[in-house]
C-alpha cells in the first residue's frame, strides 16, 4: 500500500523519501521499464524527425515570447473566450481556485462531476476539497481511476499509475467494481474501465478539466489525450469547468503546429496522440452550453518575475525530463512529494511553495543534463536547479542552525583552502598524513569517519599519493635545472 504524501508542505525531504522506494524492487522495475519504453519510442521518432532541433528552437522561442508578454496574451484570451460565450475567472491562489470551482458546481446544483486528468487540479488539491463539500468527483482517465479507486497517488505526470502493475490493478478493480472473475490481462482491465465509465459519461452533467493550451487569438482551449475520456467529458456534459495555469497560453492557433509536433513525441513516443480537441467558448447545439475557465496564478507570477527562473513556466508537461532522468528512474515520482515530480518538479515545486518547502528538491539531482537535452522547449533545468540551490543557501547560511552544519562549515573551510595556494598545499600534506591512518597495505582506504564515511559506505578510496602533482612538477623542474 502506497503511503506517499504528495503535499510539498508535508512531504519528507527527498533523501528520506527515497528510502522506502529504493527498497521496493517491484516499483523500481516498473519505473525502469516504463521510462525505458518511452525513451526508446521517443528516440526512434526524434531520429526520424529531421527538423527536431529546429522545432525545439521554435517551441522555446514561442513559449519565451508568451511569458514575456503574458499579460497582453491573457487579456486577449479573456476577451475572445468571453466573446465566444465562455466565462473567465481569475484565481490568485489555490484556495481561490477551489472556491471558484465549488461555487460554480453549487450554481449548477451539482453533486457529482466527471473529470479529465489534470495536474493543475492535483496541484490545488481539488478532489479532497470537493469531496469534503459533498461533491463526488469521478476521475475518468484509466490511470486516474486506478489511483482513485486504489487510493493511491500519481507518480508520473503522463503515466500516473506506472508504479502499479497489472495484478494490483486487477485487485483494485475486482474489489471496487465488484467484478469477481476479472483477469489481470490489461485488455480486460481496460474493458472493465470502459464499461464502468460509460454510464458516468452519459449521465453526469458537469465536467472538470485542465487544458494543454489556451489560444489567445481565438479564446480557444485545447486538450491533448489518448483515451477518449477527454472527448467524453468535454462533449457530453452541460457544464464544463477548465482550471488552467496562466502560463498555458499560446499566441495563435498556428502555434499548435510546433507544440503538437513535439508534445506527443516527447510524452508518449508517438507522432501524434490519438485525440486532440479544441473548442472555443460555447458552440450552440454542440457540447457544453456553459463553459468556465479558471485561470490559476498560484505563484506563477512570482516565478515569472525572476529572469533565470521564468523558463520554468515554458513547460508543456510532456514528462520527457523525468523519462530520461537517472535519478527519477530509480525513485519514481512519489519521492518528490509533489504532483510534479522529476526534474521539472524539482524546479517547479519549490518555487510554487515560494521556497518555503521542498527545498531538498533542487539538490535531488546529479546535474547530468539529460533533462535539458530532451526538453522540447529547451528549459535549462540544471541552470535553474543551480540557481535555486544558491537561493536556499543564501537564505540558510545566515541562520543559526547552519552554524553547526558540517556541510556549511566544510565548504567555508574549503573556500579558505582554495584561496591561498600555501593553505591548499599544507592541507594536502596534512590530509596525506592523516589518511595514512586509514590506508591499508594495498594503498586503499576502506573506512573513514564522519562525512568521509558517506564515501566509504559502498566504495573504497585510493589513499592519497605520496606526492601531489604540483610537488612532482616542482621536483622535476628542480631536477631539470
Amino acid at each position: 500500500m502506497n503511503t506517499a504524501i504528495l503535499d510539498p508542505k508535508l512531504a519528507p525531504p527527498f533523501r528520506e523519501a527515497v528510502l522506502p522506494v529504493l527498497r521496493n524492487p517491484m516499483l523500481r522495475k516498473n519505473v525502469a521499464h516504463a521510462t525505458e519504453v518511452i525513451q526508446n519510442k521517443r528516440a526512434r521518432l526524434v531520429a526520424e524527425k529531421t527538423d527536431w532541433e529546429e522545432l525545439r528552437e521554435a517551441g522555446s522561442a514561442i513559449r519565451t515570447h508568451v511569458l514575456e508578454n503574458l499579460g497582453a496574451y491573457l487579456l486577449q484570451f479573456e476577451e475572445r473566450c468571453t466573446a465566444a460565450g465562455g466565462v473567465v475567472h481569475w484565481a490568485g491562489t489555490a484556495d481561490e481556485a477551489r472556491q471558484i470551482i465549488l461555487d460554480l458546481l453549487r450554481q449548477e446544483n451539482a453533486t457529482e462531476a466527471i473529470k479529465i486528468k489534470t495536474m493543475t487540479s492535483a496541484e490545488i488539491q481539488l478532489n479532497p476539497y470537493l469531496e469534503a463539500a459533498g461533491v463526488t468527483v469521478h476521475e475518468t482517465d484509466l490511470a486516474e481511476i486506478i489511483l482513485q479507486l486504489g487510493k493511491e497517488e500519481p507518480s508520473h505526470i503522463v503515466v500516473p499509475a506506472l508504479h502499479i502493475n497489472r495484478s494490483q490493478v486487477r485487485e483494485i478493480f475486482s474489489r471496487t467494481m465488484g467484478l469477481k472473475d476479472l483477469s489481470d490481462d490489461p485488455k480486460e482491465l481496460t474493458g472493465a474501465a470502459r464499461h464502468y465509465l460509460r454510464e458516468k459519461f452519459l449521465r453526469v452533467p458537469t465536467a472538470i478539466s485542465g487544458a494543454n493550451y489556451l489560444i489567445a487569438e481565438t479564446g480557444a482551449v485545447a486538450v491533448v489525450e489518448s483515451e477518449g475520456n477527454g472527448r467524453m467529458c468535454l462533449t457530453l456534459p452541460e457544464t464544463m469547468i477548465s482550471v488552467v495555469g496562466i502560463e498555458k497560453v499560446l499566441p495563435r492557433f498556428q502555434d499548435l503546429e510546433v507544440m503538437l509536433q513535439v508534445l506527443a513525441r516527447s510524452a508518449t513516443g508517438e507522432r501524434m496522440n490519438p485525440y486532440t480537441s479544441l473548442w472555443t467558448g460555447v458552440t450552440p447545439g454542440d457540447g457544453p452550453q456553459r463553459f468556465h475557465v479558471v485561470l490559476l496564478d498560484n505563484e506563477r507570477s512570482a516565478i515569472l518575475a525572476r529572469p533565470k527562473e521564468r523558463q520554468t513556466l515554458k513547460c508543456i508537461r510532456c514528462a520527457a525530463c523525468m523519462n530520461h532522468c537517472p535519478v527519477y528512474r530509480q525513485t519514481g515520482g512519489h519521492a518528490y512529494g509533489s504532483c510534479y515530480p522529476g526534474p521539472i518538479g524539482a524546479i517547479l515545486t519549490p518555487q510554487l511553495m515560494r521556497m518555503h518547502h521542498a527545498e531538498s528538491l533542487p539538490f535531488a539531482s546529479s546535474l547530468c543534463g539529460a533533462c535539458y537535452e530532451v526538453c522540447p522547449v529547451k528549459i535549462d533545468i540544471p541552470a535553474v536547479l543551480l540557481d535555486l540551490r544558491a537561493d536556499v543557501v543564501n537564505r540558510e547560511r545566515k541562520q543559526a542552525k547552519r552554524a553547526f552544519d558540517l556541510m556549511y562549515i566544510g565548504l567555508r573551510i574549503a573556500n579558505t583552502l582554495f584561496s591561498r595556494p600555501w593553505i591548499f598545499h599544507a592541507t594536502q600534506r596534512l590530509g596525506r598524513i592523516g589518511l595514512r591512518l586509514f590506508t591499508a597495505k594495498d594503498g586503499w582506504i576502506k573506512w573513514m569517519p564522519s562525512i568521509g564515511g558517506r564515501w566509504t559506505e559502498n566504495r573504497d578510496l585510493r589513499g592519497l599519493p605520496d606526492q601531489t602533482f604540483h610537488e612532482w612538477w616542482a621536483a622535476r623542474a628542480k631536477e631539470q635545472k
Binding site: 527527498f14 533523501r15 527515497v18 528510502l19 529504493l22 533565470k308 537517472p326 535519478v327 528512474r329 530509480q330 525513485t331 539538490f363 535531488a364 539531482s365 546529479s366 546535474l367 547530468c368 543534463g369 539529460a370 535539458y372 537535452e373 541552470a383 543551480l386 540551490r389 544558491a390 537561493d391 536556499v392 543557501v393 543564501n394 547560511r397 556541510m407 565548504l411 574549503a414 573556500n415 583552502l417 582554495f418 584561496s419 595556494p421 591548499f424 594536502q428 590530509g431 586503499w444 576502506k446 558517506r454 564515501w455 559506505e457 559502498n458 566504495r459 573504497d460 578510496l461 585510493r462 592519497l464 599519493p465 606526492q467 601531489t468 602533482f469 604540483h470 612532482w472 612538477w473 616542482a474
Partner: protein
C-alpha cells in the same frame, strides 16, 4: 605551441598520475607546457552547492593566474563545463563590467584535453600503445556540458593494441554528481549499482573516461567489490607507449 596545464584540485591531490601522463603526452607532441603553482580550484564544488560568492572569488583568482596564458589544457571535463556554463552567469550576477571582460578574454583559451588534441593540435593518432580491452564512459559534463562529441572516440580508435568495447547506456549518469553523492548517498549508490552493472558487463579490463570524478566513483566500487576491472583516465591511455607504458600497468 605553448599551453598551461590546469590540473584540477582533485587530480592534484588524488590522481597526480593523470597529470604526469598529460604532461608526458603533450610534451611528446611538442607542446611547451607550463604549470602555475598558484592554481587551486575552479570553484565547481561551491557553485554546485549553492555557495556562489565563494565560487566567484575562486573563479576570479583563477582567471587572474592565467591572464597571460595562451591556452589552458584541463584533463577534467567537469571543470571545463564549470567555466563555460557557470562562470558567465556568476560573473553576470556578482561581477562588474571589467571582470566580465576578463572572463570573455579567458574563456576562449580553455580546452579540455581531448579538445586540445583534436581541435588545437589537430592530432588523433598520438602514438599511443595500450594493448588492453577498454570501455569508455561518457561523463555527463563532457557529453552534455561541453559537447565533446566524437573526439574521445577518434583518439581511442588510434591507440594501437587497444580493444574497444562499447558501454551500454554509455550516456547514463554514474550517480556521483559531486556533492550529490554526499547529500543523497543512497540514491547515488542506487545509480552506481545500475551503472556498474552495465560497465562490468563489457568484460573490459579498464573503464576509461575524461573525468576522474566519475572514475573515482566507479573505481572505488570496483575495488570494494573485487571486480575484474579498473578505471583509468584517458590521458594515461594516450600517454602510454611501448617504451613507457602507463603507470597503472606497472
Amino acid at each position: 605551441m605553448r599551453a598551461s596545464l590546469f590540473i584540477t584540485c582533485y587530480n592534484d591531490t588524488l590522481f597526480p598520475e593523470t597529470g604526469r601522463a598529460t604532461t608526458r603526452l603533450l610534451e611528446r607532441l611538442g607542446v611547451e607546457l607550463d604549470f602555475r603553482q598558484g592554481q587551486t580550484c575552479c570553484g565547481q564544488m561551491h557553485a554546485n552547492s549553492g555557495f556562489r560568492a565563494e565560487a566567484f572569488s575562486q573563479a576570479k583568482r583563477l582567471i587572474r593566474i592565467y591572464e597571460d596564458a595562451e591556452a589552458l589544457v584541463i584533463p577534467g571535463s567537469s571543470c571545463v563545463a564549470m567555466m563555460r556554463d557557470q562562470y558567465p552567469g556568476i560573473f553576470e550576477e556578482l561581477g562588474n563590467e571589467s571582470q566580465r571582460r576578463e572572463l570573455d578574454a579567458f574563456l576562449p583559451k580553455v580546452f579540455e584535453l581531448s579538445e586540445f588534441l583534436v581541435d588545437k593540435l589537430h592530432v588523433e593518432d598520438v602514438g599511443a600503445y595500450f594493448p588492453h580491452r577498454v570501455t569508455y564512459h561518457a561523463s555527463c559534463h563532457g557529453l552534455r556540458g561541453i559537447h565533446l562529441g566524437d573526439r574521445p572516440f577518434k583518439l581511442l580508435s588510434k591507440v594501437r593494441g587497444l580493444e574497444y568495447v562499447a558501454l551500454e547506456h554509455m550516456d547514463r549518469c554514474c550517480g556521483f554528481g559531486g556533492t550529490f553523492s554526499v547529500k543523497n548517498p543512497e540514491i547515488s549508490q542506487a545509480m552506481l549499482t545500475v551503472k556498474l552493472h552495465d560497465v562490468l558487463s563489457t568484460r573490459a579490463e579498464f573503464c576509461t573516461a575524461l573525468d576522474n570524478s566519475c572514475l573515482m566513483h566507479l573505481g572505488g566500487a570496483m575495488h570494494r567489490q573485487y571486480a575484474a576491472m579498473r578505471t583509468i583516465h584517458m590521458a594515461e591511455i594516450l600517454a602510454s607507449t611501448e617504451d613507457a607504458p602507463a603507470e597503472a600497468l606497472a
